[in-house]
Amino acid sequence: MENKELQLNKQKNSNLSILLIGVNLILLLIFANIGDSLDDELSVNYCYLSFGTTVLLGFYAFSYHGKGYRIAKWLFAASLIISALLIGLLLYSAGLAKAFQH
């Protein structure tokens, strides 16, 4: 009986977490888009968004264990790869910019 209650509590907390991840991502998007961004700044905004997703999903993936929550780990892995690629791209373009000296 107590176990069931615990399960239910976990389920409710998980639903709330998913809602909060959504809310936080929307807020992050609003924050990044205040002001007139030029094209290059816009692409940096998308990087922030991707890092934000990774961190928020990471917390979720490592807090909830069990069969029903496994998909979160997969999503986290996917966002981790995307973020890593973006970091790689940023470092690469920074390297290119650095090489461009007059």
Partner: protein, 248 residues
């Protein structure tokens, strides 16, 4: 339901983001930002070499003023640079920084002028209400705004106009007193004496023009009180554009 740790963390993040959004919104002040373009002009017969010309904006940023025509000695009194563009909305200028040397009187001028903030704000508001705003080029599609024109006349006289469609308003008229150049005001590639600096900066001024100016051409001119005829000159164009729906 008892909140677990991760939800408390998410709620903390939400609060931080809300505070950050409020802070960023109020420091950006989007409602006090406008598209505008700024350029500088000088009479043909009174060439100048500009060391510095820029606006200080309400948020402390620097506002760029296009001075290409003056640098080429092709500028005319009351004529703005032909390609007006605006990449982003900016806060309105509160100060004008000017440092230049005049070819005719060989004097250096350097000053920071206070602009009438409230007046500029009112002009922008009323220009939008009365559809007097002009089109400015923007990479993601033309935008509407006004143009600033800084006029540098002879004898240290300076005027600033705001312009739109069928609209021109003088917002500042001031006389600067000449000063001895200080610091990097005579720096051009290297530190120069006053005479060397003037010679270097006006190197590209055509000799024929130099001869003409040195012989006293247009000597008694008083450009600061010369009307610009901006509206008269553009009337026909605007009427055509309005008729064909290119502008409102």
């Amino acid at each position: 339901m008892k909140l677990n740790f991760v939800n408390k963390l998410y709620i903390a993040v939400t609060l931080v983001l809300v505070v950050a959004i409020v802070f960023k919104t109020f420091s950006y002040k989007g409602w006090e930002r406008y598209h505008y373009f700024s350029s500088v002009c000088a009479p043909e017969s009174y060439p100048i070499a500009i060391h510095n010309s820029y606006f200080i904006l309400a948020d402390g940023d620097l506002g760029y003023i296009k001075d290409e025509a003056v640098e080429n000695y092709t500028s005319k009194w009351g004529e703005d640079y032909y390609f007006a563009e605006s990449n982003r909305r900016e806060r309105l200028p509160v100060k004008l920084v000017l440092q230049y040397v005049s070819y005719r009187d060989k004097k250096f001028y350097s000053d920071t002028l206070n602009l009438p903030k409230e007046k500029i704000k009112q002009v922008f508001k009323s220009a939008f209400q009365n559809k007097q705003v002009t089109k400015l080029f923007n990479p993601s599609g033309d935008v509407k705004g006004l143009t600033f024109l800084v006029g540098i006349a002879n004898d240290g006289n300076v005027a600033v106009w705001l312009r739109g469609v069928f609209f021109e308003k003088l917002i500042l008229k001031q006389k600067l007193s000449s000063k001895e150049p200080q610091g990097d005001e005579t720096y051009y590639e290297k530190r120069l004496s006053k005479a060397e600096y003037i010679e270097k900066r006006f190197e590209d001024l055509p000799d024929s023009l130099k001869l003409k100016l040195d012989s006293g051409f247009d000597n008694k001119a008083n450009y600061i009180d010369t009307p610009t005829h901006y509206i008269d000159k553009n009337k026909e164009l605007w009427e055509y554009q309005k008729k064909n729906g290119f502008i409102e």
